[in-house]
Symmetry: C2
Subunit: 210 residues, 2 copies
DNA sequence: GTGCTAACGTATCTTATGTTACATACGAGA
DNA sequence: TCTCGTATGTAACATAAGATACGTTAGCAC
């Protein structure tokens, strides 16, 4: 575990803090598709990503979903952090996009470290900063782009996260993430295939060029 | 000026901090419609709202706009804060919605206070928290609502901010804020008028019930 | 009053997206 | 091999929203 913290966080946190994290944080391994946090959950600890990826979703009263963004190693869930500090319920749902290793930091420690470690404060601010930026881009995407452009962006992001050119997913899954219907996605994917940009198979999409 | 800080912020900041703010912050008065910050601006100070209201917009490459949310007294612009701390350019545009009184706090002080004052840290975290929440609601609005529902929400918000039931604006203005066309807004407003929910006049909309 | 401009009303048409329905194809397991 | 559930393809239609075009109106300047 030591090595993982060092690899991912030794450049951002001072030595003492890394030690403290090692002492107090609990390691957690989750498998692809596992739900880490759901809407309305109270959160008592904050995740630091060591490996893998997490997708963060918004869900409305009708159960309609929308992908907000992905978290990668070195990231933390600013939403969760925000909820922890504000002692409010989670406003988002988080699902493991890949098999993922996490460190869970208890809230009390977070607050303590905020007063003690400058590097922790910077990390927290930096996290808020990047999450705000990410959310702004999400807003851009849904406000200014058409579904075909959103789909392209989605495929790119997903390929980047997994590091592979073949995505293992279904049209229905994509439709959920983009809050549209399966038929619409199938239609648009078919168009992309006709343009030789992707190749479709059952349960997989191979990307040639986007 | 003393009285204003005290009124709005004495309950959130400790006495010493209020004094520091009085010493270092610069007061600024802006008129309705004034542009406070534009996309790409470098920001060297952070606003604390004393009175009035500010509307925060996102603008894309084509100049298309979208209202994100309004700021009210006691709020600060977390986006600006985020940019200050990250020393990055502004990602948003801010326009005075009403005549507005502000205190401008220089970045260096912000960083200093973060280390010194617990109440300042709490304020900063609280601001990030509420801004994230607000942005999530913005996402909900554009992702899950139709234009007629978005328009209703817009009218309500705007009435709440100004404290009046008659809004002084044009259909074109609303269209800009919601990133749609004037014709669409006129159409929907007319429908609301037919339903006796509002009354339309040139340059004004009187709200009966929403 | 006249003239002018910005705001507003409204019809018509186009398009993106959503909905429904059904046919077909794939692949895991019996 | 056959069977069956799930995934995908596709047509046909419905609807919200955007685009264009043009007429009308309010209010200001003169």
């Amino acid at each position: 575990m030591n090595s993982s913290i060092n690899t991912t966080y030794s450049s951002v946190f001072e030595k003492d803090l890394v030690n403290e994290i090692e002492k107090t944080a609990v390691r957690r391994n989750v498998s692809q598709e596992d739900v880490l946090i759901d809407i309305g959950d109270y959160v008592k600890s904050m995740p630091l990503l060591l490996s893998g990826a997490i997708k963060v979703l918004r869900v409305d009263e009708n159960g309609d979903e929308l992908l907000l963004y992905f978290l990668e190693p070195g990231d933390t869930c600013a939403m969760t952090m925000s909820c922890c500090l504000g002692h409010t319920k989670s406003e988002i749902k988080a699902i493991a996009e890949l098999d993922t290793e996490l460190l869970m930091v208890p809230v009390q420690k977070m607050e303590e470290w905020t007063a003690t470690y400058k590097s922790w404060r910077n990390f927290v601010f930096q996290s808020y900063h990047s999450r705000l930026q990410e959310l702004l881009h999400t807003v851009d995407t849904i406000a200014f782009l058409n579904m075909d452009e959103r789909l392209l962006k989605y495929l790119k992001d997903k390929a980047k996260i997994s590091g592979e050119t073949t995505l293992h997913t279904t049209h229905q899954e994509i439709a959920y993430d983009l809050n549209t219907s399966r038929v619409v996605i199938s239609r648009l994917l078919k168009k992309l295939e006709t343009l030789k940009k992707i190749q479709l198979k059952r349960n997989s999409i191979t990307i040639h060029s986007l």
